[in-house]
């Protein structure tokens, strides 16, 4: 297990270097630069343009800029945003809890609904409930997030008035963030109704962000379950007279969950991509919206730092997923 861990971490190092190069190059290959965009229609003289580029340090040789970024990043310094002038590290961690909270809720929603739906469909293969569930999953997977979000807002917030339109908590509640996670902070605040307000604000964004992972998880669970249910040991378990619930819920599910966990791990990247649109629709102050704004403004340090942090998070989650295999299925041993 320890050797496996070392090997996996060893793989992360070249990936990390690759990500720094990709993040550094990505924002620079886009046409335009931060000074031109800052000046807008007013324009900027070539002299002033050069002076500002020098002030930002963008006049230095490209390799020098890269190594400066790389070694600063290693030391935890991601530079200052060109727009807000604040440290990128601070900006990221101010916003990241909002994205994490939403993503965790979305993945919980996807698993809680997707896994039972997949199992249910698998145990009734070919029946109308199976076809309905899989058809719905396909629709969910194909749904444009922006359209889906607006549709839910118009229906549940605008027409029915059941849920708030956007934001993380009602403006009624005002407290200093402690953890950055609104559900926790609202509980810590001790203000009556704050938690339920935060929860109600999470409903629609969770559904919107969780729809695609839900569809993927449901389809993956069904297919893994079908495969496992046709295995000999399942037939043996049934022949021994075990109840169908025990056969499916204990014997089959544990093996079927391995590819499902892989899928869930891979959905983290999908969630972060989906968060960009979901956060925009629901005025959710997270890193997705922040990254898009930074790209549009050619805020080099924010884009470089943000991409790097997101990559580190995705790598970490995938490492955890790899380690989880052993816990879910004792047949898998990370020894050699």
């Amino acid at each position: 297990m320890f050797q496996f861990l070392i090997r996996r971490i060893g793989l992360i190092i070249p990936t990390f270097i690759g990500v720094t190069i990709a993040a550094f190059a990505f924002i620079r290959v886009l046409p335009g630069d931060p000074v031109l965009l800052m000046a807008g229609e007013r324009g900027v003289t070539p002299e002033r343009h050069a002076a500002l580029m020098k002030q930002f340090g963008f006049d230095r040789p490209i390799y020098e800029q890269y190594f400066d970024y790389f070694f600063s990043a290693l030391g935890g310094d991601l530079g200052n945003s060109l727009v807000t002038k604040k440290p990128v590290w601070d900006e990221f961690f101010t916003l990241f809890p909002a994205t994490l909270e939403l993503s965790v809720c979305a993945i919980i929603f996807a698993v809680l609904v997707g896994v039972p739906a997949g199992i249910f469909a698998a145990t009734r293969r070919g029946s109308w409930p199976d076809q309905t569930i899989m058809g719905t999953a396909l629709v969910g997977y194909s749904m444009p997030i922006f359209w889906w979000g607006l549709l839910l807002i118009i229906l549940f917030s605008g027409t029915l008035g059941w849920t708030p339109v956007s934001g993380r908590i009602s403006l009624l509640y005002f407290f200093k963030p402690v953890t950055g996670f609104m559900l926790i902070d609202s509980l810590l605040s001790g203000q009556k109704g704050a938690f339920s307000s935060a929860l109600s604000h999470l409903i629609l964004p969770t559904i919107v962000l969780g729809t695609i992972p839900l569809a993927v998880v449901a389809r993956q669970t069904r297919s893994a379950m079908l495969e496992v249910l046709s295995e000999d040991y399942v037939r043996t378990a049934r022949a021994k007279g075990l109840s169908p619930v025990r056969v499916v819920g204990v014997h089959a599910l544990r093996n079927a969950m391995i590819p499902v966990i892989t899928t869930i791990g891979l959905q983290v990247g999908v969630l972060l991509a989906g968060a960009i649109l979901t956060e925009t629709i629901f005025s959710w102050p997270g890193i997705g919206k922040w990254m898009v704004d930074s790209i549009f403004r050619r805020d080099y340090p924010s884009v470089q730092g943000g991409l790097l942090m997101i990559a580190v998070i995705v790598m970490t989650v995938n490492l955890i997923v790899d380690l989880l295999y052993g816990l879910v299925n004792p047949r898998i041993r990370h020894t050699r």
Binding site: L36, I154, G158, S166, L171, P285, G286
Partner: protein, 532 residues
């Protein structure tokens, strides 16, 4: 519980929490974006000014609400020397800075604050010139203040003198702009002593109608009325900016009663908003112009009659219908109708493709092929440049002119369109900074701006003489006449096809009163009240 009851309960609760008062009023504004910071001077975005300079600060002079007329602000009066080089301001006495949980002022506003606010931008060696990494004074520099301003001097506690390097009539209007907001020198000194200079941009202190309470990045900004505001306490107790970037979501929040005022509606949503019994929709022509600039240095666009003929081929009404969807007005002059000195006596070029074709033939132009540049972004003066370019392409084809539409990334577009040898006519526009005609005519059409913001690369001596003279005279009537004459020259020479001025809409709850639309595009909440 109905939505309106829920809102009332919400607002009541919020205000009770914030101020402890039983009947306090909170106005919620669904703003369209996040501020870059709370020190207005280093920034250029209107969204930042709405959240910083307007609620939190004052300037020596202010724009009279709803107009671009300059009136006294923190300065009670001012005098200009006969040579136009010295501006002496008499400051208002007894003006209080805001007291917050992070700063309590020990003195009233005085000349030190004015000197501090300008010198930090003017002097490269000032201790506050680079108070955070990479800071740039974009507006101050963009308005040529470093060339214009020789010094800012304290005469006594309530008198301050600006010395200029050359006479500049728009100087007073410049001082009403957001970058000229007055900050507290005492607060700056405290931050410097504490080694926390960066907080000047994060925890602001000003003399304005509201004081800063809290900002949760990309989510909510909270303000409370400044109790000691020199012009009197505001009718509302608390002001909240709920940051909502998507226009459709802002519309839903407004309809659901989650906010009272929401700017920049989608044109397609206007009918729905106007039909809502709980809402009112204010509208005003924006202080902007969208145009098609020919390159007057490149044949055959160096001939005024060719440019004029092309202008006559453009069907502006179809552009207004298709691109602006009713939220625009045809432009005939390079400045908008809400600006003083607008020459309404000028007749627009008629839409007459047959006459245009004959004019081109008379000018010896046959089988003309040209490029039209379409901006890749949506701007207030041009909501859909691609569509506009396609309509112009169609119009020009009717007079035998072939058009190729080109576009570039926005930063590149701005850069490449400045080139003197640019191939083609460029769609662009301008939104006024300070309500002075010089801010349109000199910036966009002056000889100094050729190769820069003068995208027509047009330098006409007659026009230039008029606008230069208007810069140096301080008599407004005389300046008005000069600018009116300049517009006549512009119309005759036709360096641009003036397309449209956009109309700005402002939907809000019917409970809101006292809101006045700003022709300069800002959003102000002093003087705004909320019905119980």
């Amino acid at each position: 519980m109905t939505k309106s009851k829920l809102l009332v309960a919400t607002l009541l609760g919020a205000t009770m929490l914030a101020s402890g008062a039983a009947h306090s009023k909170t106005l919620v504004y669904c703003s369209e974006g996040s501020p870059e910071g709370f020190d207005p001077a280093p920034f250029t975005a209107g969204t930042t000014f709405d959240a910083s300079s307007k609620p939190l600060y004052n300037r020596l002079v202010e724009f009279k609400r709803g107009t671009s007329e300059v009136i006294p602000g923190l300065a009670e009066s001012w005098a200009v020397s006969s040579d136009g080089l010295e501006y002496t301001f008499k400051l208002r006495a007894g003006v209080k800075f805001q007291s917050t949980d992070f700063f309590t002022p020990s003195r009233d506003f005085n000349a030190d604050d004015v000197v501090f606010s300008f010198e930090r931008q003017l002097k490269k060696d000032h201790a506050w010139n680079q108070y955070t990494a990479g800071i740039a004074w974009e507006y101050f520099d963009g308005m040529s203040m470093p060339d214009l301003l020789k010094s800012v001097e304290k005469v006594d506690d309530l008198t301050v003198k600006f010395v200029l390097n050359r006479p500049e009539a728009p100087m007073i209007a410049n001082l009403a702009m957001d970058f000229a907001s007055i900050l507290s020198a005492e607060y700056a000194a405290k931050l410097e002593a504490d080694g926390k200079k960066e907080l000047l941009n994060q925890q602001p202190i000003g003399t304005g109608p509201f004081k800063f309470v809290a900002y949760q990045k990309d989510a909510v900004i909270r303000y409370a009325a400044h109790e000691g505001y020199w012009a009197g306490k505001q009718p509302i107790d608390d002001l909240v900016f709920a940051i909502t970037t998507d226009a459709s979501v802002r519309q839903q929040k407004l309809k659901a009663g989650e906010c009272h005022v929401a700017p920049y509606p989608n044109p397609a949503d206007l009918e729905d908003l106007k039909a809502d019994a709980n809402l009112q929709v204010m509208e005003q022509e924006g202080l902007n112009v969208g145009y098609l600039a020919y390159n007057s240095l490149v044949a055959p666009f160096d001939k005024a009659e060719v440019r004029k003929a092309l202008n006559m081929a453009i069907n502006k009404q179809s552009i207004l219908d298709a691109v602006f969807q009713g939220a625009g007005k045809a432009a005939k002059n390079p400045i908008p109708p809400t600006m003083w000195s607008y020459n309404n006596a000028i007749n627009d070029d008629p839409y007459d493709p047959d006459a245009a074709k004959k004019m081109l033939e008379a000018a010896g132009v046959k089988d003309l092929k040209m490029k039209v540049w379409a901006m890749p972004v949506q701007r207030p003066y041009n909501p859909n440049a691609r569509r506009m370019a396609e309509l112009i392409q169609s119009d020009f084809s009717k007079i035998g002119v072939g058009v190729e539409i080109v576009s570039y990334e926005w930063g590149e577009y701005l850069k490449l369109s400045k080139a003197k040898d640019r191939d083609g006519a460029v769609l662009l526009g301008w939104t006024g900074d300070n309500g002075d005609p010089d801010n349109f005519l000199a910036v966009l059409l002056g000889c100094d701006a050729v190769g820069g913001s003068n995208r027509a690369q047009w330098c006409n001596k007659e026009f230039e003489d008029l606008i230069q003279k208007a810069k140096t005279v301080s008599d407004k009537a005389e300046r008005t006449k000069l600018y009116e004459d300049a517009q006549v020259v512009f119309k005759r020479e036709a360096p641009w096809a003036t397309i449209a001025h956009s109309v700005v809409f402002m939907p809000m709850s019917k409970k809101v009163s006292g809101y006045v639309m700003d022709p300069l595009g800002g959003h102000w909440f002093d003087g705004v009240d909320l019905a119980e």
